[in-house]
């Protein structure tokens, strides 16, 4: 049995090779309600696709907490990745989004694509290797039925402890200097509109008004730096109902969300699947879920790495292309 690994608390990882797997390809909310009823007290690893049509839950019979350093590997695996989209087509898509924005259709859309390569090595070995490359608070390795997910997300979607629920959206990426990132009106607006969107999503599940507890703080990942904010509130709802209202996350869809989701289905050629969905743990009424970004999908020897950019009216295709490449971290990329 391949192990399942997921971030927990205080930089520790949940590790298990003794679990049950349940999946659905239709009503995710109903599926999660059934899982909650049957396995309420069990530690569970949850994965939900961006389109909210598919979900998988690993119900752990036993597990242990480990440090990333316990499994990190220095194995020399260094495949060359190639963008799945040409710079020309990427630029055309950015310009199309800007036209939609100018016409008042939406304020921001998150546009994503991928990088492709081949790796013969075992997927868990590849996970161990990249664990030391990406600095990530929300890593996970999930053996799915037909492929494996290797996730190195730096972004929290939702964390619930008792009644307290928080989200920490990331928007804004280093281009030239930290001062430029902090002073940029474009990067400021990009995060601010997502903060208003996530206030909205949390306000829909919290009785009392939610609060912005952090705004535009710096997250240093080594391979780049970002700005992020934090919004918190109090709720008595459970995970299935919370996700039914708040999923998918605002930072990887756009604003207003429903129109952005429609635009993404028009602009991107393929469903995103697990990418930009969520992965995390769930036990009793507490949970911690990431936004599944900075992630690989490995299917036999084929491996894809996914990345995206928030596009606003002030976005320039050239800079967004650079941001797309930046988000590939320390991967070796060959592009035209």
């Amino acid at each position: 049995m391949k192990p399942v690994v997921c971030f927990h608390q205080n930089q520790q990882l949940i590790y298990s090779d003794d679990y049950l797997v349940k999946s659905t390809f239709y009503n995710v909310t109903h599926f999660l309600e059934n899982i909650e009823n049957e396995y309420f007290e069990k530690m569970k690893i949850v994965q939900i696709d961006f389109e909210a049509t598919g979900a998988t839950v690993f119900i752990l019979n036993t597990y242990r907490l480990i440090s990333p350093s316990d499994i990190e590997s220095n194995e020399k695996i260094n495949p060359v990745f190639k963008p799945a989209i040409s710079k020309k087509l990427f630029s055309e898509k950015v310009l199309r989004i800007k036209n939609d924005i100018a016409a008042g259709r939406y304020y921001q859309v998150n546009f994503t694509s991928s990088f492709k390569s081949e790796i013969a090595e075992d997927s868990f070995l590849v996970f161990q290797k990249y664990l030391s490359v990406f600095k990530s608070e929300y890593s996970a390795f999930l053996p799915m039925q037909e492929f494996e997910i290797l996730c190195y997300s730096p972004e929290l979607f939702l964390e619930k402890t008792d009644a307290l629920i928080c989200t920490r959206p990331i928007k804004g990426t280093l281009t030239t200097s930290l001062n430029q990132l902090i002073a940029s009106p474009k990067e400021t607006a990009e995060l601010s509109m997502i903060v208003d969107l996530l206030r909205n999503d949390l306000n829909s599940i919290c009785e009392k008004p939610v609060t912005v507890t952090k705004h535009r703080e710096i997250l240093n990942l080594g391979y780049t730096q970002h700005t992020y904010s934090e919004i918190c509130g109090q709720t008595n709802l459970h995970l299935p109902e919370i996700l039914n209202t708040t999923f998918p996350g605002g930072s990887i869809s756009g604003c207003p969300k429903s129109e952005s989701l429609l635009a993404i289905s028009e602009i991107e050629n393929l469903p995103r699947g697990f990418y930009t969905g969520t992965i995390g743990w769930w036990k009793n009424n507490d949970f911690k879920l990431n936004i599944a970004i900075r992630s690989f999908k490995k299917e036999n020897t084929d491996i894809s790495y996914y990345a995206g950019c928030g596009i606003v009216y002030d976005s320039e295709p050239e800079f967004e292309w650079q941001e797309f490449l930046t988000k590939a971290g320390k991967l070796t990329i060959h592009h035209d």
């Binding site: 939406y106 208003d196 604003c255």
Partner: protein
């Protein structure tokens, strides 16, 4: 007893923030814009709020029809797209505004010293061309109408977003709405 508001949502992502902003002083009911024609209890509400939303007023024929058929004594607050709908329903027009103002703040200019200089959030790429002699300007920004009041109907429009966390004193606008509907 708390006053009541009916918030008509245009598939927006800030509707729950508007509910949260209003709910400090009003009991809020939310319906989607597609449900307006079947909703029978409109006149029972102290205030109707037309929400912001994507696209243009012309993309919401039900909401425009609703506004044009509404009793003039009914209090209506239009926010962003809602104010643009009011403009169109009164014979004005909207036009695109470049570059768009999305998730950014600006300063209100007003003869009212409590309002002048206040920082508010803006989310729009469309701007109102108001019909002549129908609206009073409460505040502007960059010479654009930001806060308007109809001279005959009980209609108020805000182009800015009072509910945004970027708006520095959201209570100013909520208190102004309450004073207006309590007259």
């Amino acid at each position: 007893m708390k006053l009541t508001a009916l918030l008509i949502d245009h598939d927006d992502s800030f509707t729950q923030n508007i509910r949260s902003w209003l709910s400090k002083k009003l009991n809020v009911t939310i319906i989607n814009h597609t449900e307006i024609s079947e909703f029978k209890k409109i006149s029972e509400f102290d205030l109707i709020v037309m929400s912001p939303g994507p696209r243009s007023p012309q993309d919401y024929p039900h909401s425009l029809k609703f506004l044009s058929e509404l009793n003039h004594s009914q209090y209506v607050l239009g926010i962003c797209l809602g104010m643009q709908m009011m403009t169109v329903a009164c014979g004005g027009t909207v036009q695109t505004y470049t570059p768009p103002y999305h998730g950014k703040t600006s300063t209100l200019e007003s003869a009212d010293q409590k309002i002048n200089g206040q920082t508010v959030a803006r989310y729009h790429s469309i701007i109102c061309q108001l019909p002549e002699n129908q609206f009073e300007l409460i505040a502007t920004s960059d010479q654009l109408p930001m806060w308007i009041l109809h001279t005959e109907k009980n209609w108020m429009g805000m182009q800015f977003h009072p509910e945004s966390f970027l708006t520095v004193s959201p209570e100013i606008y909520l208190n102004a709405v309450l004073q207006w509907i309590s007259k």
